[in-house]
């Protein structure tokens, strides 16, 4: 007992969290309901709660400033609950669970629920914001230069000091009044003359506090963004005309609240708002590209099942997806466990060396190695073809591509299984296996009836988790085959596509972002993985006392 406590573990005793106290006065009072409060515990508690209070106060000021009362309420309640929990002596399990759970709720549960809620909407390109946003976008994009429009001399600038990526701003000076404005998609703002340096000849702004004025070269790199930038004003909007001039034009299309429609003042055509699809639709069926986000109910889900372009390849992909996840998990586990068993022997010498070398594939950055493997399978100068003198187009045929992907997964994944299997093997008391050999069991018998069941007890949650991870392993496919090879008649669904890469291509591909659709398919994926895991858990439940 004492040897194990002074062993290697004592050095890893969560440094900085709970200093090890030597000579702890063990009061031998009869422990009734509560053990005594220790001085160290009290100090740690006070310091940590003080830290919590400090962070809460720091976080509160911006919330108050932004008048974000819901956020402030959540912050106050969370802090109060933490204080109540750790100052009291009850709710001991919660004291251990709450720290991780707070992060889990804020950064995992909330995004997932948020995503799930978008599955019932048409959220995506053209349907991003509110109806009001859509109306503003329609009006500003229809701006045309008309006789009598105000002309400005224009300087392109960015917020902050990075000309390549900073947010673009138009610095506009009115040649008549010499007033200077800064304008972006949020609107127009007058600038204090003291903050601005302008050319006395043309009135063009050459420098302004807080902005970086771009030269012609820097601006022309971003000319597409500059053309797309429209500054809304009360009477219309300001657009650029080249890189040095801008004009305030009039909106040709205007929203009429009376008929809830958009009218084109030049052609007289009207588009009426359709609350079901979240778009303005004309009598002839033409719809404006700028729509708004509306609830579409189960439409996204029914589309997955009924739209032949989506549902037809769904089941083939599903089958390969299972084969890929089971193959990746199973092969890596078998190989990793086999090698761990082979090296796990008291008489083995040099196991440390083997371990260091074997673990190297896992120590290498996997995203980089996936790309390296892709090049090793290259037809013309790939290493695999070079070494064996072959000319196989590995990623060009369905089955060789699938085999190649699984081989890459095996290489990347088996050191992990080797590592955890070694850890689990070391946790199995040697007395057990020794006892079986004393009783005359063969190594295979002792493996089957003692080692393997104990290994599976420790590793089955991990195997299920590995299955779930590989089921959605987007990197493994996206960085190697990109889902290919594709059949000639269907460029959207390849032989190695997983559901998640297939969804990704459907939702974020050439047709533009369809987040609502993507969320619906990801709920399908989630349901499949969760069902499979729940079933396998019921089976493993008998082996371990998880719920005891």
């Amino acid at each position: 007992m004492s040897t194990s406590l002074s062993g290697p573990g004592s050095a890893t005793q969560a440094p900085g969290r709970e200093p090890v106290r030597s000579g702890l006065p063990r009061k031998s009072r009869t422990a009734r309901n509560h053990a005594p409060i220790t001085a160290t515990g009290l100090v740690v508690k006070v310091v940590l709660l003080g830290l919590v209070a400090g962070i809460a106060i720091w976080a509160a000021f911006p919330l108050i400033e932004a008048e974000h009362w819901i956020g402030l309420g959540i912050l106050a309640v969370t802090t109060a609950v933490l204080f109540y929990l750790y100052l009291g002596r009850r709710h001991i399990p919660a004291k251990y669970l709450v720290p991780g759970t707070i992060f889990l709720i804020a950064f995992q549960v909330f995004p997932v629920l948020y995503t799930a809620s978008t599955a019932f909407t048409n959220f995506g390109d053209g349907h991003r914001g509110s109806k009001q946003d859509a109306i503003v976008a329609i009006q500003t994009s229809s701006v045309k230069q008309v006789p009598g429009s105000t002309e400005y001399s224009l300087s392109i600038a960015t917020k902050g000091d990075d000309p390549a990526t900073g947010a673009l701003v138009f610095l506009l000076s009115d040649p008549k009044t010499k007033e200077v404005f800064a304008g972006d998609a949020g609107g127009l703002r007058k600038l204090d003359p003291g903050q601005v340096e302008a050319s006395s000849l043309t009135g063009k702004v050459t420098a302004a506090d807080g902005y970086t004025v771009l030269n012609i070269g820097q601006a022309s790199v971003r000319s597409k963004e500059i053309t797309d930038l429209i500054v809304p004003t009360s009477g219309g909007a300001i657009r650029s005309n080249g890189l040095t001039r801008a004009y305030e034009g009039k909106a040709v299309r205007a929203y009429d609240a009376g008929c809830d429609c958009v009218k084109d003042t030049e052609t007289g055509k009207t588009w009426t708002a359709d609350a079901k699809s979240g778009a303005f639709v004309a009598a002839d069926g033409e719809r404006l590209t700028q729509g708004w986000k509306v609830n579409v109910g189960l439409k996204n889900f029914s589309r997955v099942l009924t739209d032949p372009n989506i549902s037809r390849p769904f089941f083939g992909t599903l089958l390969w997806n299972f084969a890929f996840a089971i193959g990746s998990t199973g092969l890596t586990f078998l190989l990793g466990m086999a090698i761990a068993l082979a090296l796990h022997s008291p008489r083995m010498k040099g196991t440390n060396l083997y371990r260091v070398l074997l673990i190297l594939p896992y120590a290498m950055p996997s995203f980089a190695m996936l790309l390296v493997w892709r090049d090793m399978f290259n037809t013309d100068f790939g290493l695999v073809n070079n070494l064996f003198g072959l000319g196989v187009d590995w990623f060009g045929q369905a089955w060789s591509a699938r085999a190649a992907v699984l081989l890459v997964q095996l290489w990347l994944g088996y050191p992990y299984m080797f590592l955890v299997a070694t850890g689990a093997l070391q946790a199995i008391p040697r007395e057990l296996t020794e006892a079986t050999s004393v009783d005359g069991a063969s190594p295979w018998q002792s493996f089957r009836s003692v080692t393997l069941p104990l290994l599976l007890v420790a590793l089955s949650p991990l195997l299920i988790a590995s299955f779930a991870y590989n089921f959605n392993n987007i990197n493994a496919i996206w960085l190697t085959t990109e889902g290919g090879p594709f059949p000639a008649d269907n460029p959207t669904n390849g032989a190695t596509d997983l559901l998640i890469t297939y969804t990704y291509r459907l939702a974020f591909g050439a047709q533009g972002a369809e987040f609502g659709m993507a969320a619906a398919v990801s709920i399908f994926i989630f349901a499949i993985v969760a069902t499979v895991s729940a079933i396998s858990f019921r089976r493993t439940r008998k082996q371990e006392e998880v719920y005891s």
């Binding site: 009072r29 590592l419 299920i464």
Partner: protein
């Protein structure tokens, strides 16, 4: 027992049966080990060869190094912000793995040793939540952090702290299950006797349980460190400033366009990226190797 174990070593050079016996008991294990090492190492050898290749292109690289030039390494530091990426990755992965393991161990202790309402529900929920394809929640994460960036710029986009917080969302999950499994293998008599001696639940956790699960803590910390260094999809959305990028994001950008020409630099970066993980493994090795319950059960 001792003489039996020493015998094969003493007779290693002897011929005949003893050599066969050595092979059937120890030798085949070495054969398996060597084959596995060859399988593990040849792609890494290819990367090494590419990194030392003076031409620095993919098409001119062979399995064995054809030259020994460090030009790819110097180019990597001169032409890219590799030093920044490296430090960012170390900071984020180090902090994230340490804190997430600690949070996970706390939860695993409660799940393993305490009985409370909602325990089974909590365990299943943990597993279920982590099964949602997190990559598809990236839109929600992006929108959430747009607000966070407005309110608290220190935790927003392009900061290591924001990314760190985001990674902490996954702290409870697979690791908690793994650790709970190992807590379960520790005999309950240990903490029960400590409680009888008047130890608080915190003392039982920090002074008895944690030292005994040190090997599995080491394993999970290592896995978490490697997982964080390799995380690409979320970091790619989160970090757009050249100097705030992590290794994965920065190096992906390196070969996104000029794949063939930058391959030597990319391979050099891959090797340098592997250094921290290999070092961490070396540091933690003795905890992984040391027995877990051997001492506790005997005591």
């Amino acid at each position: 027992m001792t003489t039996y174990a020493d015998a094969p070593v003493a007779n290693r050079n002897a011929k005949g049966k003893s050599k066969n016996r050595w092979f059937s008991q120890v030798g085949w294990r070495h054969l398996v080990g060597v084959l596995a090492v060859v399988f593990s190492l040849f792609p890494i050898l290819f990367v090494l060869s590419a990194a030392l290749n003076p031409l620095g292109t993919l098409s001119s690289t062979e399995l064995l190094p054809t030259g020994a030039s460090f030009e790819n390494f110097t180019n990597l530091f001169d032409k890219t912000a590799f030093g920044h990426w490296f430090l960012n990755s170390l900071l984020i992965a180090g902090a994230a793995s340490f804190v997430s393991i600690f949070l996970s161990a706390l939860a695993a202790y409660a799940f393993s040793r305490m009985r409370f309402a909602g325990r089974r529900f909590g365990l299943l929920t943990l597993l279920l939540i982590q099964m949602f394809p997190q990559f598809l929640a990236i839109v929600a994460i992006f929108l959430i952090f747009t607000t966070v960036t407005d309110l608290w710029p220190a935790l927003g986009f392009n900061t290591p702290w924001g990314l760190f917080l985001l990674y902490m969302g996954g702290a409870l999950g697979v690791n908690t299950w793994l650790m709970k499994g190992f807590f379960d293998t520790l005999p309950r008599e240990l903490d029960e006797s400590a409680t009888m001696d008047g130890a608080t639940h915190a003392q039982v956790f920090f002074r008895i349980m944690l030292p005994l699960v040190a090997p599995i803590l080491a394993v999970t910390a290592l896995l978490s460190f490697i997982g964080t260094i390799n995380e690409f999809m979320i970091a790619n959305v989160f970090l757009t400033n050249t100097e705030s990028k992590t290794l994965a994001v920065g190096m992906f950008g390196l070969v996104a366009g000029e794949r063939n020409n930058n391959f030597g630099m990319f391979a050099a970066g891959t090797l340098l990226t592997a250094i921290p993980t290999v070092l961490v493994f070396q540091l933690l090795q003795r905890y992984i190797v040391s027995g877990l319950t051997a001492g506790a059960v005997k005591g």
